[in-house]
C-alpha cells in the first residue's frame, strides 16, 4: 500500500446494489406460491376433504402472515411484543363493523383494516417504544389487557357477546375459496415485506438496534423513528389477517382476537422457526399448525394436546436453540430453498 485513499470515493461508481446481495431461491419460492394458487382448482384431486384442506391452508397462511409480521419488530428489531394481536382484533372489528353497519365490500374492508392497524401501531409505538427489554414486553401485555377489557365492555361492538356478521354470499361448496385466496395474498404480502426488510437499509438499522441501540444512534441512526416505523408496518398484515379471519367466522368475539394465547403463538412460531430470519416464521408457522392439527386429531382438543405440543417444541429448541432456520444457517446447513436472507 503506497497511497491511502480514504476520502469518499470520487470515482463515479454505479449506485447499484452490492454484488454480495444474493438473489435467493426465487424460482423455488415462486413455484410454491403458484402451487398454492392452483390448490383450490384441484377439487377433483382432493375430493371429499376439499373444504377441510382449504380451511387448514387458510389457517396456515394466516399464521405465516402473523408470525412474519411479528418478526419485523420482534425478530429484526428485537422488541418482543406480546400484544400484537391487538392489531389482529382491531382489524377484525374494523372490517366487521364496516361490513355490518355500512355494507362495504369485503374487498375494501380488509385493506382498510390493515391501514387502521398501522395507524394504531404508530400511536401505540410512540408510547410503548419509549421502554425497552422487559419493560417493553410488559407494556405490550398491559396494552392487550386494556384493549381486551375495552372490547369486553363496549356495547356498540356487542361487548363480550360479540357481533354476528352478514353471511358471505357463497354456497357451502365454494365459501372457503375466497377466504383462502385472501389469506394467500396476505401471507405472500407479509413474507415479501419481511424479505424487503431483511434486504434493505431499514432492516440493517433494525438489526443494529436489536444489538446495541446506543451504537446505532452514534452511527447516526434515528432509532426511535426506525422502531416506531417497524412497529407500525408490522401491524398492517396482522390487521388485515384479523379482518379476513373474522369475516370467515361470520362472528366476532373479544375472546377470539384478544387472547394472549394468540400473541404467544406468534412469538413461538417466530422463535421455533428462527427469529430475525425471513424463512424462520414461515417454517415455524407451518410446523406449529401441522403439529397442532396432528395432535388435535390424535388426542382431541384437550390438555394432553397442549402438553404434547409443548414438549415437542421444547425438544426442537433444545436441538435448534436459534430456531430451525437460524440454527441451520449458523451451522452452514441451511438448504438453499430456505435461505431467503
Amino acid at each position: 500500500m503506497t497511497r491511502q485513499r480514504v476520502e469518499p470515493s470520487v470515482i463515479a461508481v454505479e449506485r447499484g446494489p452490492s454484488r454480495r446481495r444474493s438473489r435467493g431461491p426465487l424460482a423455488a419460492v415462486a413455484t410454491i406460491v403458484l402451487l398454492l394458487t392452483l390448490l383450490p382448482l384441484a377439487r377433483p384431486l382432493i375430493g371429499q376433504p376439499y373444504n377441510y384442506v382449504l380451511q387448514i391452508g387458510m389457517v396456515g397462511l394466516m399464521w405465516i402472515a402473523l408470525a412474519s409480521s411479528w418478526n419485523i419488530i420482534g425478530g429484526f428489531a428485537g422488541y418482543i411484543s406480546l400484544g400484537h394481536n391487538v392489531f389482529y382484533g382491531i382489524g377484525g372489528y374494523a372490517s366487521g363493523l364496516l361490513l355490518l353497519y355500512f355494507d362495504w365490500s369485503p374487498l375494501l374492508t380488509w385493506p382498510i383494516a390493515g391501514l387502521l392497524a398501522v395507524i394504531c401501531g404508530f400511536l401505540v409505538g410512540l408510547v410503548t417504544l419509549r421502554t425497552r427489554g422487559p419493560a417493553f414486553i410488559i407494556s405490550t401485555v398491559a396494552l392487550l389487557l386494556m384493549v381486551a377489557l375495552l372490547f369486553d365492555n363496549w356495547e356498540f361492538v356487542g361487548a363480550s357477546n360479540g357481533l354476528s356478521l352478514p353471511l358471505p354470499p357463497f354456497s357451502i361448496e365454494t365459501v372457503k375459496i375466497p377466504f383462502y385466496y385472501a389469506m394467500l395474498l396476505i401471507a405472500v404480502g407479509s413474507v415479501y415485506l419481511s424479505y424487503r426488510v431483511a434486504h434493505s437499509k431499514f432492516g440493517l438499522a433494525l438489526r443494529a438496534i436489536a444489538q446495541d441501540e446506543t451504537k446505532a444512534e452514534v452511527g447516526g441512526i434515528d432509532t426511535r423513528k426506525m422502531k416506531v416505523t417497524a412497529f407500525s408496518i408490522s401491524a398492517f398484515f396482522v390487521g388485515a389477517a384479523g379482518a379476513v379471519w373474522g369475516y370467515s367466522l361470520t362472528y366476532l368475539r373479544p375472546a377470539i382476537f384478544f387472547s394472549i394465547a394468540i400473541a404467544a403463538e406468534m412469538v413461538l412460531m417466530a422463535i421455533i422457526g428462527g427469529r430475525g430470519t425471513v424463512a424462520g416464521p414461515v417454517v415455524g408457522a407451518i410446523l406449529l399448525v401441522t403439529l397442532n392439527e396432528i395432535s388435535v386429531s390424535q388426542f382431541g382438543s384437550t390438555e394432553l394436546n397442549i402438553v404434547v405440543t409443548g414438549v415437542i417444541m421444547l425438544v426442537v429448541l433444545l436441538f435448534f436453540p436459534m430456531g430451525v432456520v437460524g440454527t441451520l444457517r449458523e451451522r452452514g446447513k441451511l438448504p438453499s430453498i430456505l435461505d431467503w436472507d
Binding site: 446494489p17 452490492s18 438489526r207 447516526g220
Partner: protein
C-alpha cells in the same frame, strides 16, 4: 485556526458522585488534541456528553459554533461528530462489513425498497477496512474478532460516516505494538486530510507523539491545558496521576 469543538462548563453527576464538574476546553479545527487523566477522571463521561449519549446536568457543547447540547446522538453524529467506545461496541451478530455500512442506514425510510448495501458503499467500506488492515475479515461475524481487531473495526466504522471531528476513547488500550504503530500512522494520515481528533489515551508515548495540545482532567475537572512540553513538565499533572490533587 478556528474552534471546532467548544466545551463550556460541562457537568455531570451520578448520584452523589460528580463525574464531570464544570469542565471547559476547546479543540481547534485540524488539530489532534489529547484528553488525559487518571482512571475515573471523567474523560469517558465527557465524551458521552459531547456525543449525546448522556445529557449534561449543566454546560454546553458547541460544534462549529452550533449548540448541540442535549441533542440525540444520531443528530450529533449527523453534524459530523464521530466517536469510538473505550469498551468496543461492535454489533456481534452482524458481519464486519455490515457493521461498517450501518451508518449508511441513517437516511430516509425509502431504504425499505433499496438495497442493503450499494456498490460504492461496499467499496468505501472495504477501502477503510483495508486502511486499518482487517479487510480479509469482512465477511466474518464481528463477535469472532480479537480484542485488537475490534478496536480497529470500531475505528474504521467511525470513519465510515465521514466525520469532521472524531472522538477516540483509548484507541490503543490493549492493542499490540504493531497494531498501535499502524493506528498512529492512520490517525496522522487522516489528520493530514483534514480530520480533527480528540483522543483519550493512557499510553503517554501515543499522546505525546500525536497530540499538539493536551487537556488534563482529574476528579471531573480540567487541571491544565497545553502543549506536550508544558504538560510533561507540570507538577500538577504528576500530582493528578499520583492522586494528590
Amino acid at each position: 485556526m478556528t474552534t471546532l469543538l467548544d466545551v463550556a462548563g460541562l457537568s455531570k453527576g451520578f448520584g452523589g458522585l460528580q463525574a464531570v464538574n464544570d469542565c471547559s476546553f476547546t479543540v481547534e479545527r485540524g488539530a489532534i488534541a489529547g484528553l488525559i487523566g487518571p482512571n475515573g477522571a471523567g474523560k469517558t463521561t465527557a465524551f458521552n456528553m459531547i456525543s449525546g449519549v448522556l445529557r449534561p446536568d449543566a454546560g454546553a457543547v458547541l460544534v462549529d459554533g452550533v449548540d448541540i447540547t442535549g441533542m440525540m446522538p444520531h443528530k450529533v453524529a449527523r453534524r459530523g461528530v464521530g466517536r469510538t467506545f473505550q469498551i468496543t461496541r461492535e454489533l456481534g451478530d452482524l458481519t464486519v462489513l455490515e457493521n461498517m455500512v450501518v451508518p449508511t442506514a441513517r437516511g430516509r425510510l425509502s431504504g425499505l425498497f433499496g438495497a442493503r448495501m450499494l456498490r460504492d458503499e461496499e467499496e468505501r467500506a472495504m477501502e477503510l477496512l483495508d486502511f486499518v488492515g482487517i479487510s480479509r475479515l469482512a465477511d466474518e461475524k464481528a463477535r469472532n474478532l480479537s480484542f485488537g481487531q475490534r478496536k480497529l473495526l470500531e475505528f474504521a466504522s467511525a470513519l465510515m460516516a465521514d466525520p469532521t471531528l472524531l472522538l477516540l476513547d483509548e484507541p490503543a488500550g490493549g492493542v499490540n505494538p504493531a497494531l498501535l504503530e499502524r493506528m498512529m500512522e492512520r490517525i496522522r494520515t487522516l489528520n493530514e486530510q483534514g480530520l480533527t481528533f480528540l483522543i483519550v489515551e493512557h499510553n503517554m508515548d501515543v499522546v505525546m507523539n500525536l497530540c499538539r495540545s493536551i487537556v488534563v482532567m482529574a476528579h471531573g475537572e480540567v487541571v491544565l491545558t497545553g502543549s506536550p512540553a508544558v504538560v510533561q513538565n507540570d507538577d500538577r499533572v504528576l500530582d493528578a496521576y499520583l492522586g494528590k490533587v
